[in-house]
Amino acid sequence: MRRALLLLGAAALALFPLVGGAFYLQLLAKIMLMAVFAMSLDLLMGFTGLVSLGHAAFFGIGAYALYLLSPEYDAADFWVSAPIAISAATLAALAIGVLVLRTSGVYFIMATLAFAQMFFYFATGSKLLGGSDGVSINVRPNPAILGWTPFDLGNRVQFYYVALAAMLATYLLLRMVLRSLFGHAIQGIRASEQRMRALGYPVFRYKLAAFAIAGALAGLAGYLSAAQYGSVNPEFFGWQMSGTVLMMVILGGIGTLYGPILGAFGLTLLQELLTELTKHWLLPMGVFIILAVLLLPQGIGGLGLAWRSPRPEPVDD
């Protein structure tokens, strides 16, 4: 039943450009990239039990990597710059993970936030990275191979499909990983780290690997987001970015893969709606979040599912 709904959703998204206008194409593309970002965080939170408040660190790295790899008035090679950006995010995740994964619980939450802020302040203070105003990417990355250009990231419809492809690919990738030996191991860690240790699992390694995978995917989302906007600024590292994606995961339904997707759609559309109504839209947004936490402990997608217990069996079938 759920699979049918998901296929329907994917089909609807695939057909949307036939009816949607430019504004909505751009908006939905943004949402789908946020969905990638949110799914990566859910790997950490919902499946490994690591609540990170600094996931934007890797999002920002992916974004700034595109800027650094783009020549000033020319396009970066997509097939070169994207893997480099993702690798940079992954390396950063490994480096930060080695430090923060020594902590747990509240310390972990605080330490991850602090490290993301470190990047924020670095970017704000750095001339190379354009300081608080950020930087522009004048020409979008070019995916040309041997003269053939499979898609044009400057074209709104084509970028939409790239974003859709990224979202679907991330979903399928994570689904595969969660069903693998590794996936079962991290879910065991989430359920009881003590038990896993007693069984002989080198828990730290698995947490670090999950952290790195999540960082890589966040980097991808950041890279594509930078490509979409054509600009990057320190807010990509900001705590609001980390907070927003955290909300998407929790409100959408932590511990499932479709939950973050729902959360990305729901929260962004809500934000659009509220922005129409008032300049101070963060106020009703804050009220909404508080009410949601108090009234809907399992989030939208989690209705009927205890969020504490993702089954290590197939995630959504």
Binding site: M176, V177, R179, S180, L181, F182, G183, H184, A185, G188, A191, S192, Q194, R195, M196, R197, A198, L199, G200, Y201, P202, V203, R205, Y206, A209, A306, R308, S309, R311, P312, E313
Partner: protein
């Protein structure tokens, strides 16, 4: 006489000013149940935590098959072949009994850093899980959620999980706690059977069970070993009777 599989020498653990375990010398042989008994607070669980690596000793040594393992991390020690059960049931409550054992059996693979093939396709692991479930008598409950099992069944599951890792040594911390008579008998028979192929260290309060299956007993009081020996010797020891058994002889 075979060499002991597990041996401790002057093992001690201090928490600030409190000596939870002092100067404990203990050995464990393959094929036997060695029970550790003593009043609450005697340091029995601390002892198990030291042997399993959950706590690092303040001093002394622990030798497993002749190798020093004191201070090694818990997961390292578990991989060497020392499995433990916990006093408070520590199972994966929201997973099925089968998945609990499957995860335990998976731990024996050289590595779980495999991201592509589904875990369930690893037949050997799944088969091992079903085997240990059958061994403890839980095969009928395999698909039930662990939290839905009765207390006794959960304790059985915990033992099954320790078995799934194919250990050489079993450290069982009060496996009979909270069990009814019927369930206890079943578990006691299971432990006795397991002892044939493993070395079992059993911490228990149930004296009937202890005296029926233990080949040797160690009595601990206030973190120290009061006396160690065969069940008959312990039963007749005046010191033990005074300190622990309350002066009356327990029924065999």
């Amino acid at each position: 006489m075979t060499e002991p599989v597990l041996r401790t020498e002057t093992l001690s653990k201090r928490f600030g000013g409190l000596a939870a375990v002092s100067d404990v010398a203990l050995d464990l042989r393959h094929g036997e149940v060695h029970a550790v008994i003593g009043p609450n607070g005697a340091g029995k669980t601390t002892l198990i935590n030291l042997l399993s690596g959950d706590l690092a000793p303040s001093s002394g040594s622990i030798l497993f098959e002749g190798r020093e393992i004191a201070g090694l991390a818990a997961d390292r020690i578990a991989r060497l072949g020392i499995a433990r059960s916990f006093q408070r049931t520590t199972i994966f409550r929201d997973f099925s009994a089968f998945e609990n054992c499957r995860l335990a059996a998976q731990a024996r693979l050289p590595t779980s850093m495999r991201f592509v093939r589904p875990a369930l396709s690893q037949r050997a692991v799944s088969d091992a899980a079903r085997r240990v479930l059958a061994l403890v008598g839980l095969e009928a409950a395999a698909e039930r959620r662990a939290s839905a099992l009765s207390h006794g069944e959960q304790r059985q599951l915990e033992i099954a999980m320790t078995l799934a890792t194919k250990p050489k040594v079993l450290l069982l911390d009060e496996p009979l706690a909270g069990m009814g008579a019927e369930e206890s008998r079943h578990i006691v028979a299971l432990i006795a059977a397991l002892a044939e192929r493993h070395a079992v260290l059993l911490v228990e309060h149930d004296m009937d069970a202890v005296f029926s299956i233990a080949r040797r007993l160690t009595v601990m009081v206030n973190g120290r070993v009061l006396e160690s020996g065969t069940p008959e010797a312990i039963r007749e020891s005046a010191a033990v009777q005074e300190a622990y058994l309350g002066g009356a002889e327990p029924q065999p």
